[in-house]
């Protein structure tokens, strides 16, 4: 079967390659923008996704995974007693500052029970998790080692005034919109979060009234001497989440309602609900989703312009050929199919190298920058669909031109 479309495309190889480079660029732009958007939104919920908890209990004022209010540790103990709850564990999230080699980095510390079952910070060995029971030890994400100026496991630094020993590295945990993550035991995390402040309670008894003033004071950033081990959590120690494992066969929606009624001031989410609401927050309530989406749309527009321009030029240059085809008795569909086939070849031959390029770029950025350009099978098929629509849509302009070709053109010398 003779393919005039394919032969016409390859007739002028250098021009064809330049054209394909344009389409490849458009495909790459769309893939990278959507990949970053997906990678970025996924990164905001990696820790939720890797947990074994069925339900996450947070303050009722929660905005997103990292923006919520703490509640007393007592709620964790009470949650464990609710009917249908097989297991309840605490998760603490707080901020801090990492000092290493005299340089400062902001961090987000996650405190969890290393002997627990419901929270695991990404891909990390059991030995590293067990090592978190040591005082002032922590895990960091592999992608943050350079920022934290940590070369090897066992290196030390300081979080506020407290020492920290890196006992392991983990991966696939870091959110792109957050400070650098540090993972520690509940005790260590509580110490790190609350360090840097000291309080002094002064009470005075006046005419029958007791007046108390609790004065908080920021401590100096100097390393603290004569360090004691981190103390245990008390009932009123602040925690951020209660992670719940439901008893087998338990209806999660009913259990959520029970938890919210038992633990006042809380809101319960299934794992997927918390993922969805957090991702929706970052995509819709911040400009990030819009900006990355806009970039993807620009990619599609650029691609359409490139393909339309190429097809239109190709049709204009081959107008006499199309006139000849018409004179010879080619139907409109015969002619449209030549242009459509041409556009589909352009789509396919621009898509494959474009996707390979993005895959390479994504691998490189994930390894060196910790920025994931997420290309899933679904998104790859989606971009192929967009590319095909982009190219076929562009062919419409060329088809309009060829529709108006007067077959009488063939009789002109």
């Amino acid at each position: 079967m003779v393919s005039l479309a394919r032969k016409n495309l390859l007739k002028d190889l250098p021009r064809f390659l330049v054209a394909q480079a344009g389409i490849m660029f458009a495909v790459s732009l769309v893939t990278i923008q959507t990949g970053i958007l997906k990678g970025f939104t996924r990164s905001t919920t990696l820790l939720i996704d890797s947990s074994a908890a069925d339900i996450w209990v947070a303050s009722e004022n929660i905005v997103n995974f990292e923006l919520t209010e703490p509640f007393p540790y007592l709620q964790v103990q009470r949650a464990g007693e609710i009917e249908g709850v097989a297991r309840a564990e605490a998760l603490i999230i707080g901020s801090g500052r990492w000092y290493s080699d005299g340089k400062l980095t902001t961090l987000r510390v996650f405190g969890f029970d290393p002997d627990g079952q419901l929270f695991r910070p990404g891909q990390v060995s059991s030995a590293a998790i067990n090592a978190l029971n040591e005082p002032y030890s922590a895990l960091i994400d592999r992608t943050n080692m350079r920022s934290f100026r940590i070369d090897n496991v066992g290196d030390t630094a300081r979080i506020r005034q407290l020492p920290v020993t890196v006992v392991g590295v983990t991966r696939d945990t870091q959110s792109l919109v957050s400070s650098k993550f540090v993972f520690a035991s509940l005790l260590n995390a509580n110490a790190y979060i609350s360090s840097g402040f000291s309080s002094e309670l002064t009470c005075q008894l006046g005419e029958g009234d007791l007046t108390c003033v609790n004065a908080y004071q920021r401590d100096s950033n100097e390393a603290r001497a004569n360090l004691a081990e981190p103390g245990p959590l008390s009932s009123d120690s602040p925690v951020t989440y209660v992670l719940i494992k439901a008893a087998p066969g338990e209806d999660l929606q009913l259990l959520k309602q029970r938890i919210e009624s038992e633990l006042s001031g809380t809101k319960a989410f299934t794992k997927n609900e918390l993922i969805s609401s957090t991702q929706a927050y970052w995509q819709n309530r911040t400009g990030i989703g819009f900006i990355l989406g806009l970039g993807a749309i620009v990619g599609v527009i650029v691609g359409m312009v490139v393909v339309a321009q190429i097809l239109y030029t190709s049709v204009s240059e081959n107008l006499r050929e199309f006139g000849t085809l018409k004179a010879m008795g080619a139907s409109d569909w015969d002619i449209y199919s030549v242009i459509l086939e041409q556009s589909l070849w352009m789509a396919l031959l621009g898509y494959v190298p474009g996707l390979l390029l993005c895959w390479g770029v994504g691998t490189w950025t994930a390894a060196t920058q910790g920025i994931v350009v997420l290309i899933t099978p679904v998104s790859a098929v989606g971009v192929l669909g967009i590319t095909v629509v982009m190219c076929v849509g562009s062919a419409v302009f060329a088809i309009q031109k060829v529709t108006r070709v007067d077959p009488g053109i063939v009789f002109k010398a």
Binding site: L4, K326, M328, G329, A330, G408, F411
Partner: protein
């Protein structure tokens, strides 16, 4: 039997508000199997008449019958199908598809006629052998001489064995010797395959290939057609 019949063909073009009459009432009858030359000076309306007789242009007035079918009543789509099934075209500038080899140019014509399958290649090869290009089947048009290109165009026009061949200045881009060869080939193949051939030309050197010559001048037949006798020199 009359293969091409035209009755009172008129054609006008509007240029702004000015109407230009290109054809002013042409009557024509070409018997089946005849080679008819249509000659006349530039601007006499030859190409317009050919376009109308080929069903590419619709006349302002008059009727055209090809092979007993009145084509002036056909829709655009029906005309396209009629051309595909019954007419082969030969053009002054050859109009070969430059990205396709000689063989593929003919295969494409066969594909358009709905003929698909492995036999197309053999059939196209046979046609190229008939026009003396059996050793050039895989050459692109750019690698062929003018005469060879026109031979490919003739082979393409004959693909699918149409009853009518319409040729527009087929020798205009060729030197006299090549032009002569090409017209003799057309003459031989047309006679062999029983085609009716209508050739528009300025070229006085090919008049002896015609059965009859029609002269057109200023949109009218300038004089009665002249039958050419004793000039046929059909050779293999």
């Amino acid at each position: 039997m009359v293969a091409i019949a035209a009755n009172n063909i008129q054609m006008s073009f509007m240029s702004g508000t000015t109407e230009t009459k290109v054809l002013k009432g042409i009557d024509l009858a070409v018997p089946a199997g005849q080679i008819r030359l249509m000659m006349g000076p530039s601007g006499s309306g030859k190409t317009t008449l050919l376009s109308i007789l080929a069903g590419i242009l619709t006349p302002t007035a008059g009727r055209v019958e090809l092979l007993g079918q009145e084509i002036t009543q056909l829709s655009r789509k029906e005309l396209t199908v009629f051309r595909r099934d019954h007419i082969g075209f030969i053009f002054q500038s050859f109009n070969l598809f430059p990205a396709l080899t000689a063989l593929e140019n003919i295969e494409l014509a066969l594909q358009l006629k709905g003929k698909k399958g492995p036999n197309n290649k053999d059939y196209a090869f046979d046609l190229l052998k008939q026009v003396g290009l059996g050793d050039r089947v895989n050459n692109l048009p750019a690698d062929l001489s003018g005469g060879q290109k026109q031979r490919v165009a003739i082979a393409r026009a004959l693909a699918g064995e149409p009853e009518l061949i319409m040729a527009d200045e087929p020798t205009a881009a060729l030197d006299s010797s090549t032009g002569r060869d090409v017209i003799e080939l057309m003459q031989y193949l047309a006679k062999n395959k029983g085609c009716t051939v209508l050739i528009i030309t300025h070229d006085p050197r090919i008049t002896d290939a015609a059965d009859e010559i029609t002269y057109l001048e200023d949109g009218l037949l300038a004089q009665e057609s002249s039958l050419v006798t004793g000039l046929h020199s059909v050779e293999a």
